[in-house]
Structure formats: C-alpha cells, structure tokens
Assembly symmetry: C2
Homo-oligomer: 263 residues x 2
C-alpha cells in the first residue's frame, strides 16, 4: 500500500491561482493520497481586520482564545472547505477534517516553559487515528486535513501543519497491512523549487540534501527561519520509517525537479 502525503503552505495558500494549480497537481498524483494545509497569512489578515494582532515567538504563533477562534475559522472553515469544494470540482472525492473529526488527531496542550504558547497542541505518533485515515482512503475518500487538533476533553488546539504531516507519515509507515508494508511518500510543497543553495537564485535548488549538509547550511545561515523547523520535521520523518521525503514546488510533485532528502 503506497500513500502520498502532500503538505501545502506558504504563499501557495494566499494566492488563488497558485492554490488552484497546486490542487490540480495534487489531483494528478496516482493512488492513495492525503492533503494537509495550514493557512497562516489568511489568519493574520482576518485578525487585523478584527483588531487582534498576532503575536509570534520563534516563528510560532501565540494562540490566545481570540486567536484560536480565528485560526479555527480560517483553517477548518474557509480554507479547508474552499479546498474541498475545488477538489470536488476536479472530480477528486475530498473530505475535509480537523483533528476532532472522527477523533483523527488527538493532541495535548503544550507544557508551559519560559514561553506560554497558549492553545497550542503537541502531538506524537500515538496521536494519529490511522484506522480512520486508511478506512477513508480505501473507500476512495481523500482526506484533506487542516492544522487544528483536539485534546479529547472538548477543546480545539492549534498545531503546526508541518508537524502533523510528519507524524501522519510516520504513523502510517509504522502500520502493517495484512503483512504488507505501508510505503509513504511525504512531500512538503511551497512556493520555491526546493532547498536553495543561494537564497537570491530561485533556480539554485539542491537535488539532494542529507542531514550533515542541512546542519552545515544552518550554521552558515543559508537555511534560516521557517525552513529550519520544516527540514527538522522532514528529517525526523525520514529517520522514522517514511520511504521518501521531498521539498519543492507542487508543479513538480510528479517529476524529479525538487529537493529529495537522504540520511
């Protein structure tokens, strides 16, 4: 059983044409597939319109009650349902889910250390209801997951979409299907062609990156900001049983023009 997991984020979601192109590319993937999305900037836009200003620490949003409501509305509401409606128009039988739906992702409130992240949910391999996900896939339903989870006692929590993608890929990889391995390919898609050797040159993407090179590029500041946790999630997945992990543009989901991760 082979499953493609595609995470889309960044500018792809903000721009209508980019989003539709990404969804068309996703539809063209053969076999079982799952889509995961966040939607950060739309939530920022909505917050500002309502006079609430998002607070970020180390690239992560601080989620108070008002902000939680906004991310739920944005991620699970407008973004998720518009993606599903668009995929349906491409005859791709999508079904949108947040982590509470069918108890598909159960998280726990992040423990307070020096920073109080608020209503943020952390997950582990046990968090994912792989039974439900595989049940939907086998019945020709394509799960479209947003980055909202729940804690099982009635609260929704905000969880990083890259982290969900990584844990979902690992959890499905660990499952066995009637003595047959589950092979998972995880694709992190964004507006760039891959991990860039030179940030000023959009064509300078690496064909391959291993963990050692990642560490080196982090030290010399070629890899910075949001790319660091994204690659950390990606390597974590690769080290934990996921068959293939790539980073690149959705236009190249179906070819080799992207950055492949190797150990």
């Amino acid at each position: 059983m082979k499953i493609h997991i595609v995470k889309i984020g960044g500018h792809l979601i903000n721009d209508c044409k980019s989003l539709h192109d990404s969804l068309e590319a996703f539809c063209q993937l053969k076999g079982y597939k799952i889509l995961i999305h966040g939607g950060g900037r739309k939530a920022d836009f909505l917050s500002k319109k309502m006079g609430i200003f998002p607070k970020m620490v180390q690239g992560r949003r601080i989620t108070n009650k008002e902000t939680l409501d906004i991310v739920v509305m944005t991620y699970a509401g407008i973004i998720n349902k518009n993606i599903v409606a668009r995929l349906q128009s491409y005859h791709c039988n999508a079904l949108g889910l947040c982590g509470a739906d069918g108890n598909c992702i159960k998280s726990y409130l992040r423990k307070m250390t020096n920073i109080d992240y608020g209503y943020v949910g952390d997950i582990n391999v046990k968090s994912i209801n792989t039974h439900l996900i595989k049940f939907l896939l086998k019945n020709n339903i394509i799960p479209v997951l947003c980055s909202i989870t729940h804690n099982g006692i009635g609260n929704l929590l905000n969880t990083n979409a890259d982290t969900i993608a990584a844990y979902l890929a690992m959890s499905l990889s660990k499952d066995k299907e009637k003595d047959c391995e589950v092979e998972v390919e995880l694709h992190f898609c964004f507006e760039k062609k891959g991990v860039l050797r030179d940030l000023q040159d959009s064509e300078s993407y690496l064909k391959k990156i291993n963990f050692h090179l990642f560490q080196k590029m982090k030290q010399n500041h070629t890899i910075t900001n949001g790319m660091i946790p994204k690659l950390e999630n990606a390597f974590f997945a690769l080290k934990n049983g996921v068959s293939k992990v790539s980073i690149g543009h959705p236009n190249h989901l179906n070819d080799v023009n992207k950055t492949m991760l190797c150990l």
Copy 2:
C-alpha cells in the same frame, strides 16, 4: 434501519450552556443519528465586528461574497468544529461535514427573481449523497452537518439548515436497505418546548399539530416569522415519507414533551 435526525438552531447555539446540554441530550439518543446545525447569530456578531452588516429579506440572509466567507468560517469552522470536539469528549464519534465534504450535499444557485439572494444554494431530494451518510453511520461515525453546500463546480453556497434537515430526512426515508425500509425520525430543536398556543406562555405548547391547524394559526398570526418556514419544512418532510417529525426543546428529545406533527 432507524435514523434520528436532529436539527439544532436558534438560541441553543448562541449560548454555551444550552449548546452543551443539547449535545448531551443528542448523545443519549439510541441508534443511528445525525446532527444538523446553522448558526445565524454568531455570523451576525462576526460580521458586525468586521464592519459588514447582514441584510435579511423575508427571514433569509442575502449572501454576498463577504457574507459567504463569514458564514463558511462560522458554520463550517468555529461552530461545527467546537460541536464535534464537544461530542468527542462525550465519547460520541462525531465527524463534521459541509456539503462539499465527500460531495454530501450538492446544491444549485438560487434563481434570481425579484430578489437576488446572492450565494444561496437550493437543494432537492437528489442533492443528498445518502450513500456517504449511511456508510458513515454504519461505521459508527456520527455525521454533524452544517448548512454550507457546494455546486460541484468549486463554489460553496449558503443553504437553510431546516431545509437540509427536511431533505436529508426525506432522501434517507426513500432509500431501501436490502428490502428493509429506512425509518427516519426528524426532530427540529430550538429554545421553546414546541409550537406555542399562546406566545406569551412558554408552557402552552401543542402536543400535536396537523396541517389544517398550522394553516389556521398562520392566518390568525399565532405562528409567525421564522416558525412559518420551519413548519413548512417539517410538514413537507412528513408528507414525503419521514416517519415522525417533532418540534421542541432538546431536553425532551427522549420523551413526549414536544409538538408532534401529523397530517
């Protein structure tokens, strides 16, 4: 096969305690069940906060693009997902859906007559994907439907929740299950005990109402405003194969203290 369909609306959704009590009562219903909700006033509140003022004509919202975004965020986002998270905490395996999810309710844009309702979707018996709904029920998943539908060509539309409840009940009633009839009980729940004989006396609910009495009470203005389309939907369902239709408070879902409709 017996299915309970419960529609909750009105003040039940605005008030947190009423909503939680309604969900507890819903959980106590035995057997197959489906929940449907709207959420009008939350959308109004959010609109105003964003400087957009809702326009109503004959009790129906005029849905321009901005208003559509707000109802999608509110109904499919914050209300639907909070209901699902709460039901999960009661060990009720809920899964939230809008009409685009799994193509479960396909609507068509309301034809413009003297009023342009905007992004409003009308439905008929063929609109409902009963196959998906029954598939979920049989796999111990409880569908929680919000009143957002899609037109199959990528657009979300706003549809009246009472109308969805009525058509869903009729569509499921018309289905046969391996030569066995599907018996549907439809419950319209709101903050009152039923159809009131005297609007000033909350205890004056009718135990029974037939279509003739409804017409009479409409003429003498005992039944007014939003109760008229609600009862029209309810009688329409009863005339089209639904076994039982009731109107009342969710606290009495499991007993006889409500208004039962009869032909």
